[in-house]
Symmetry: C2
Subunit: 159 residues, 2 copies
């Protein structure tokens, strides 16, 4: 419900793994139209459907609903665009109590790791942990919906 | 959840209005890709998101979840493809206890009325009420998702 403000960064090393929790994610898309993406996600043992509007600056309309995980599994297998994205998400809470989510991709996107923070306003201040690299918030190649159409392994000069 | 088997017919006259209940529907689509349509619907004062797969014969995979009606309203206004479909749905129970749903379209589809029944199997028997006309189950023009791209008012020779 409402709006999310997210910033996304590349990651150096794997120091974020210390003191963070790890969850397996599997997700696919019913629409990758940038005006109205529809995502099916399994996070651990829970299922979700998420609708997002077009990104404007760092803001985006988002609506998320929990659905039965067994049905999420069927929709991913039978109806979502292929390939399905699989990743481990690490949840890291920094000294300022800000939550970083670090995604280590697998399969067609293996080798890619990105970190995201969600902020209350577009100009919120925060401190970057030393393993945070280049910002890629505005680089559409890193949208999960685009990592289906053009997975990381196919990029030239990736990194 | 699961599969639905539906048959769709044109309608002669408005005799179905006697002894039937009437509900206002407003619906739009986040995806009209026939492999994976995603519909947002307001039915009376309730909101729903519905995912449907490709039609195979009369069968189709379908998953439906209730969502807050205020959010359904926002998603319809801000994110769904335009135009939004508006219609009155009449619910008519025939002598055999079979439920017919009759949709009277408004706006860009005014003038179109269709009736649908949902059946347990593809070869289930049923009796047609005398106001039931030509079957249009296999005519893709009558899919609600196609009534957005090509509304009834634009059809040549429409009835």
């Amino acid at each position: 419900m409402g709006k999310e403000i997210e910033r996304k960064f590349l990651v150096n090393g794997d120091k974020y793994r210390e003191n963070s929790s790890k969850t397996y994610y599997k997700q696919g898309y019913l629409s990758v139209d940038k005006e109205r993406t529809v995502r099916i996600r399994i996070a651990g043992n829970r299922g979700f459907i998420t609708i997002k509007g077009k990104t404007t600056g760092c803001s985006r309309q988002e609506y998320e609903y929990e659905i039965p995980v067994t049905e999420a599994e069927k929709i991913l297998d039978n109806l979502c665009l292929k390939p399905i994205i699989e990743k481990y998400r690490y949840r890291y809470i920094d000294a300022d109590n800000i939550i970083w989510e670090i995604d280590e991709f697998m399969g067609e996107n293996a080798g890619l790791t990105v970190a995201e923070i969600e902020l209350p306003t577009e100009d919120s201040l925060f401190t970057k942990p030393d393993w945070i690299g280049q910002e890629v918030t505005d680089d559409a190649r890193f949208y999960n919906s685009n990592l289906i159409r053009n997975p990381f392994k196919r990029w030239k000069n990736n990194k």
